[in-house]
Subunit: 238 residues, 2 copies
């Protein structure tokens, strides 16, 4: 029995509420593994063993130790109830197909943590925005991508049920970081002959809202637009 | 800072997973006010001060003390951070209009608790189903309704953001119970010249999933059908 903690919603980010609304310090109280982005949609964050790495849009990876840094959207959890995994010929097609079916993930939140050597990895990194913020869809159009072949590293991220698809990214939302901590980002493509790690199925989602943030409270979310935008900007792994 | 606890999802109920998956005892650990339904979609539940009342489809209201009774879908919270309310000429139109705007509820979960004398109340009560369960839409077609004029009682229930509309009932989901505990149900219509009570805005949703339940894990949710069904069966207050 374990909990996934999420701060902020994809719909709000989509609507342009990109200012940070939780400090890194507060976020880390809820888990030592996770993913997210910083104030202004500044990069792609990987949290492993409580250490925080931020890939910025130049491709550089920063080790973040400033606990006052703020994030608009992030998910973390504490590892527990881990189901060990040893997978062969892993890519998004295998994760989306047999893996989801075998582990009966469709209606639950789960964390995936995989390590090994990847023959190919392609990531994208969100570039920092400044207020007045554009829509996430606008940002998604101009995001740089980076590739690396024969790299050893870690995948960390989540599976979310389709009915939560405006709250967070439905299906797999995975980030990658290399063992040398020099290459990271939001995972777009990967191939690995053999990966090992663990799967954690959550019985609870602790969804946290920035209720004192005026932009969040007053923001108007057009659900049809949000769905379209999410499909266009997050649809990356099918 | 307070939390709304929800067990189960509307989408799963909609798909026909109506068997109870949490005991009343476990639910009450998370709050003393709330709403829900029992195993087999058996009636409409009101929880006030930790006391549990179930309106069944004959119109009768039972005081439930069996903590082993199971529920497939329920929401509870502990009162806190209450904003006092004194409202005049209250009905669904006023709650959906000015009230949501004034309190900036669109993007948050909130609890509403109102007491007073109602000139008119109309409720519906879900009739108990047996396995193999029909869809919630089928059940909704045959639900009895009851009306009462000039009745003193309590409204208890929740506001949920539109992006959570397949997870739970979006907008207002309110139940009613009379002070004499003889009349209760899922609120369809009401009019009251003057009501007082409180509003509680949650910064967290603790969404709990019955991950050990095979029907929940293996159930297939067609999102378009779920949205249509929810619109038809829950669309009652606009």
């Amino acid at each position: 029995m374990s909990t996934l903690y999420e701060h902020g919603t994809l719909a709000s980010l989509m609507a342009g509420n990109m200012a940070g609304t939780i400090t890194l310090g507060d976020l880390l109280k809820h888990g030592s593994r996770g993913i997210g982005t910083f104030d202004g949609l500044d990069g792609e964050v990987v949290i492993l063993d409580g250490e925080v790495y931020q890939a910025v849009s130049s491709g550089q990876v920063n080790h973040i130790t400033d606990l006052t840094a703020k994030m608009p959207f992030a998910s973390v959890h504490e590892p527990g109830d881990l189901q060990p995994l040893d997978l062969a010929e892993v890519n998004f097609a295998s994760l989306n197909g047999g893996f989801v079916k075998q582990h009966e993930l469709s209606n639950v939140f789960a964390a995936l943590h995989l390590q090994g050597t990847f023959t190919h990895v392609k990531v994208r990194i969100a570039p920092k925005q400044t207020a007045p913020y554009p829509s996430l869809l606008e940002v998604a159009k101009g995001q740089p991508t980076f590739t690396r072949d024969n790299v050893t590293g870690t995948i960390i991220g989540y599976y979310a049920p389709e009915i939560f698809g405006s709250v967070t990214a439905a299906g797999w939302h995975l980030h990658f970081i290399s063992d040398d901590r020099q290459f990271a980002g939001h995972l777009l493509e990967f191939n690995a002959p053999k990966l090992s790690g663990d799967l954690q199925i959550f019985d609870s989602l602790d969804q946290h809202f920035p209720i004192t943030d005026q932009a969040f409270r007053q923001g108007s979310v057009d659900l049809a637009t949000v769905r379209d935008s999410i499909a266009q900007s997050e649809g990356n792994n099918e």
